[in-house]
């Protein structure tokens, strides 16, 4: 069969699920961040696919914004990881329970 919208969407979903698994299952904060990027990318694919098959350009505009946000997020996220690493000497997410009172 010919490649259509569904194919891109399924690809997007698969990448998203892989990213999700990485976010939830990995212990290294950097890898978690990387997995988040995969998820964002997956979303971008879906956006672009809709844009392509739906004939509206807004999807692509949004992808640009997502890229901007992703870049900003990576910058801040990595800075945070480094800051935490300085104070805790680890980037193991299971050793952080800062959200518990």
């Amino acid at each position: 069969m010919a490649v259509g919208l569904e194919h891109f969407l399924v690809l997007s979903a698969v990448l998203f699920a892989i990213g999700l698994y990485g976010v939830l299952a990995k212990r290294n904060a950097v890898v978690i961040l990387m997995s988040i990027e995969i998820m964002l990318t997956a979303v971008n694919i879906a956006m672009v696919a809709f844009s392509r098959y739906g004939q509206f350009i807004t999807g692509q505009v949004f992808v640009i914004f997502i890229m901007v946000v992703a870049a900003a997020e990576v910058a801040v996220g990595l800075a945070l990881i480094i800051a935490i690493y300085r104070s805790k000497k680890t980037v193991d997410s299971e050793k952080f329970d800062l959200m518990k009172w």
């Binding site: 690809l11 990387m34 098959y53 505009v61 640009i64 870049a71 801040v76 990595l78």
Partner: protein, 162 residues
């Protein structure tokens, strides 16, 4: 037909490299697989005739974010320990599969209003129009710029030595 073949190759590679990112224990390799993944995604954009985005993808993701991550890996010594999985591996796997199944079920069963004809001209000018025209996304664009600036300053503040 050529497009179809390209898609299949790119899709398989991107999924495989994404899997490698989350499965490999070596942090540095994971980063490299991530870069590979981003590259293939840029290719996917190209098959979707989004040439401008494909370029941006290569510049931003492959270039900037990839480098960032590799820097971060080098700055955090934990990289030696590699990238083990945590206690939540099985639940995460389960939830991930369930989520995937749900999404696929949903999108396969949805009737997408697809426009059949494929435009082939470059989208760059169309995007520029959408952003910079009279009632476009100028304000959002400016805000995005400001956000970037804030993120950069924030990152500097965070990593600066006390």
């Amino acid at each position: 037909m050529g497009m179809d073949i390209a898609f299949w190759i790119l899709a398989v590679v991107s999924v495989a490299s994404a899997l490698a990112v989350v499965l490999t224990r070596d942090l540095f390799r994971a980063a490299l697989f991530l870069v590979l993944c981003f590259f293939t995604v840029a290719g996917i954009y190209a098959t979707l005739s989004a040439d401008f985005l494909a370029g941006a993808q290569v510049l931003i993701y492959v270039g900037a974010i990839g480098v960032f991550i590799i820097f971060a890996i080098m700055l955090t010594r934990d990289s030696r320990q590699g990238s083990p999985s945590g206690r939540l591996r099985l639940p995460a796997l389960f939830i991930g599969f369930l989520f995937l199944a749900t999404m696929i079920f949903a999108l396969v069963n949805t009737d997408w209003n697809v426009v059949a004809e494929v435009p082939t001209e470059s989208t760059t000018s169309a995007i520029a129009h959408a952003i910079f025209s009279e009632d476009g996304f100028v304000l959002a664009f400016e805000i995005a710029a400001a956000l970037m600036l804030a993120a950069i300053i924030g990152a500097i503040v965070l990593v600066r030595d006390k």
